[in-house]
């Protein structure tokens, strides 16, 4: 098991180095995308900051709490983008039949198409994001248990995000559509930039149970603020595991539908 894990780490490292090399060879494009991502983050950050400075609170949360929700969303979103950028390149692979070449290799096909192209642009933005999250997180004066629960729920959030990426890949095999599926997933999760408490029913229920943006993005931040219940936390982990289980089932089903067209 450990040997297998080491092998996959080594493969991931090699694929990531290759992916980074491609991006680094186009420094101008890298700078433009990096500036764009940072600019977008700063604008939304300033918007929230000045909005809450004017209103004092939002849905009962203070400025720092709302910004912490926003930072937690970004953390999950950016790390997911960093690890799973290859998902965006899956459609051409399916359409021209190049996926055959992945299937015949002695590694997991899912691993290859999911993690085959880590994004260096997102990687650059992760350290400052973590620092900001720590700064705003500590301003909330969390307890040790709150921090531990935050980290665990963060991992659970990544688990659900990974499950969604797998489901998108499976969807791509079945329908040949991935671009909009990815963007719709991103638009849905973007609703988690702010605590799901601001949404009204039935949207709030939809974002909690169907597309569990609330569990992915809002719950970790709530845990650090001491606003979660043991039942809520338990339910979150059950949802995370269930989503991963269903996504893997869907992936296996999709593989049986792959027609190897055009190859």
């Amino acid at each position: 098991m450990i040997k297998k894990f080491k092998k996959y780490i080594k493969i991931w490292w090699r694929m990531s180095v290759n992916s980074f090399s491609v991006v680094l060879s186009q420094k101008l494009a890298l700078s433009v995308f990096l500036i764009g991502k940072i600019f977008r983050f700063i604008i939304f950050f300033l918007f929230l900051f000045f909005l809450l400075k004017g209103t004092g609170e939002l849905a009962g949360y203070s400025v720092n709490q709302i910004i912490f929700f926003f930072l937690t969303f970004n953390l999950i979103d950016v790390i997911t983008q960093f690890l799973f950028r290859e998902v965006y390149s899956f459609r051409p692979m399916i359409i021209n039949g190049d996926f055959d070449l992945v299937l015949v290799k002695p590694i997991s096909a899912l691993f290859r198409v999911l993690m085959g192209g880590a994004d260096i642009i997102d990687l650059i933005t992760i350290p400052p994001l973590i620092i900001l999250t720590i700064i705003y997180g500590s301003s909330l004066e969390p307890t040790l248990a709150g921090i531990l629960m935050y980290l665990l729920l963060l991992v659970n959030g990544f688990l659900i995000a990974t499950a969604f990426q797998i489901a998108i890949l499976a969807f791509a095999i079945v329908t040949l559509e991935v671009d909009h599926a990815v963007m719709i997933y991103r638009d849905m999760t973007a609703l988690g930039r702010l605590p799901v408490d601001i949404y009204k029913e039935p949207l709030r229920g939809f974002l909690t149970y169907f597309i569990p943006v609330g569990i992915m993005m809002s719950l970790p931040a709530k845990a650090i603020m001491g606003l979660t219940t043991p039942f809520g936390i338990l339910a979150a982990f059950i949802v995370g595991i269930a989503f991963m289980f269903l996504a893997l089932k869907f992936w296996k089903y999709a593989l049986t539908k792959y027609t190897s067209a055009s190859s």
Binding site: L28, R40, T55, H180, I184, L191
Partner: protein, 267 residues
């Protein structure tokens, strides 16, 4: 004129060829509006709240206004021009007896009409589901000024897109990068699509208002809401016209220079 009408017809039909893509694109627009709507609805949960110069009715009208104005102004096909330049496909058009600018403007109009019709449907649907208070502008002069601002915004966005699409003449690898930076990030952030510019402190407002971006969405809706009137309205229209003229002149220079360095890579 007839050939452009044919281009319009073909473009319109082409949009229907990829129905699923189009419907998913519209669905994404609805999702994006939900965040903004619920955010402002929560801020102005108390109907008596007055903040940043808006009350609940006006801010929610702003959010719904964004939906319509976006569909008219920001729906455009001209963002594909950069790809034509980068791949050398531009050559196909240069040898045809059509004006390349008019060709893309016609395609833009087809896209806008289709997007607007869907936006009206989404607007109606969300309006009946969410039942927000809405500010109906009854002053015909103000409404005409709003329509004029929309026309100027359409021209402005067309010119911005064409200028961006000129970047691949010199840096083909930057085709999508420059669009991402300007039309996805900067336009979304500074046009007023995400939030009304006047909630920011004065210094930020002054910087943003010195760019052409607020004339795309923010000012047309401000005019509709009656927040800009009299000499200020005239000023807004004059500045928007100036931006159109300046960008048109810059585009002509840039495009001519671009054509001189164009080497039809990939052809």
């Amino acid at each position: 004129m007839r050939k452009y009408f044919q281009i319009f017809k073909i473009s319109f039909e082409e949009e229907f060829a990829y129905r699923l893509n189009f419907i998913l694109w519209r669905f994404r627009n609805v999702l994006q509006i939900l965040l903004t709507y619920f955010l402002w609805s929560t801020v102005y949960a108390n109907p008596a709240t007055q903040a940043f110069g808006y009350d609940r009715t006006k801010i929610l009208t702003y959010v719904f206004g964004v939906m319509i104005v976006r569909a008219i102004v920001l729906s455009a096909r001209a963002m594909d021009v950069g790809n034509d330049v980068a791949t050398g496909d531009l050559s196909n058009y240069l040898i045809k007896p059509i004006n390349y600018f008019k060709y893309w403007f016609t395609r833009d109009i087809a896209s806008k009409i289709l997007n607007l019709s869907f936006a009206v449907f989404e607007f109606t649907l969300l309006f009946f589901i969410l039942r927000p208070p809405f500010y109906f502008q009854t002053n015909i002069t103000v409404f005409l000024a709003f329509l004029l601002c929309i026309i100027l915004a359409v021209l402005l966005y067309f010119l911005i897109l064409f200028l961006l699409s000129s970047v691949p003449f010199w840096a083909p690898e930057l085709g999508w990068g420059s669009h991402f930076l300007v039309s996805v990030v900067i336009v979304e952030s500074l046009s007023g699509a995400l939030f009304p510019i006047n909630i920011l402190p004065r210094i930020f407002q002054s910087i943003i208002l010195a760019t052409p971006f607020p004339y795309l969405i923010y000012f047309p809706i401000q005019v509709y809401l009656g927040n800009v009137s009299g000499w200020a309205l005239l000023g807004v229209i004059l500045v928007a016209v100036s931006w159109v003229v300046v960008l048109w002149m810059v585009l002509n220079i840039v495009w001519q220079k671009g054509l001189k360095v164009y080497q039809a890579f990939g052809r």
